[in-house]
Amino acid sequence: MNITTSEENNHTIVSIDGKVDTNTSPDLERTLSGLIEAGQVNLLADFENLSFISSAGLRVLLATAKKTKAQSGSLKVCALNPTVKEVFDISGFSTILSVFPDRTSALGN
């Protein structure tokens, strides 16, 4: 899994490449927690190149969403592939998190 971060339109964009599973989710958690601690609470997770997410990855997203909300920020998610979208839909994450079809719509919202 590769994580890259960038800044755009008052958001910190976290692009995730590869799989988020039990082994890689601690890395994602560290990255996201670090950003929040640095005061970057408007996060956008770009999943365009994410091929798989496990319950551990969903937990990281859930915990991050809670933390950002507590600091009046938000965690948005965009560009989910069909497999990941189904996981989000069936597990209820589509309604817990703000999910957008692509980066532009997420930043424009």
Partner: protein
Amino acid sequence: MPVDSLHSRRVWHWLQLSAVCASIILIGAGLVFPLAGVGLLLALYVLDLIAWYGLWQARHRSPRLAFTLLLITAPWELLFISTAVVDDALPLIWMLRFTRLLQLNMLSVHHERSELSASGYLKLVRLIFNIALTTHICACVWLVLGLSNADSWLAPLLEAGLADSSLYIRSLYWTITTMTTVGYGDITPGVDAEYLFAAFVMLVGASFYAYVIGNLASVLAQFNAQKSAYQERVRVVANYLRNQQVPVELIGRVQNYYDRRWQRYRHYDEQNLLNDLPGSLSVEVKAELARNLIAKVPLFQMVSLPIRDLLLGKLRLEFVDPGSLVTRAGEQTHRIVFIAEGELEVEYQGAKIGTLSAGDYFGNHSLILQERATATVTTRGFSELMYLDQHEYERIKRDYPEFVDMVSKAMSINSEQMTEWMLEGVVL
């Protein structure tokens, strides 16, 4: 429930009300005071109006039944009194009115599909009713024959000035002594018509014996037939378990489970019953059985009717006893579990973290993430669960891609507790 079935049920209530009230009046006034007054007769006509209203409503649904009941309740006696003085014609009118009692017989036929009849009680009531009605009709004819001839069996009694009710009682007494072949011989025919009728009653009486004995045997055999069959099956299971040296405590639990299941469903194997029915009817019945579930689970209210029916068709129903393991931590689950009734306990890392109740569902996380469950779910009391197996879920998703969106929307309503648990590490 479809409107027409509701309507039909209401119609039956009207008919029952009319039939029972009419019967009370007929039995009370007709048997004890066979020559009762015009007022009661008018009351019967009012009750008939209620019955006719019900028949009018039921004419499309059960035309044959409506027609038969109309024939039974029609005021045929009015045909006979057009030229006669009402007071003189009253005995005849009352006798003809007794055809109304056939309504009761018709209604008992309607109830034959109910459990009451299966238990044999209704059959016994019908048997007694048929005996009483046949005896009464014969007694009435015997009385009419007596009234219409100067040399009849009734002549000495009329001369003695016996009351009308006494005449009827004598007639009834003669009928019973003849039908039961006792034949005291104190009342004998006087004219040809009476001889013929007496011979007829003797023949009827002999056949009646066969009818009564045959029916009694059948009623006794069928008393609680359904429950007996069920208990027999339970006995077979218990005997098998005993032979296999299963602990007594466990056998007790099995018997307890069957007892509760009987109380709940009054049927041995509802799944087979549903499989027996054609597809659409089975779904309709299942929708009725699962009405609690449909009312409580948001998913069922959100999906379109075709998907709801498909879901109901694919759901497996299971009645589960207390303490049953539904999901075990460490196991990969391949089904979504819907709770229709009962309460389930969730245990995570050795601690009880909460409960799930009617309307909740779980298994979707484990199924979609292809991960093993991390929590154990057991039933607290007797529970009714419905399972949607993974391959059925995949099929619905393939045929109706919008299903996933609907699940997503439904999850938002039901997911607060699950979200918290997921944060703690629970996968169900």
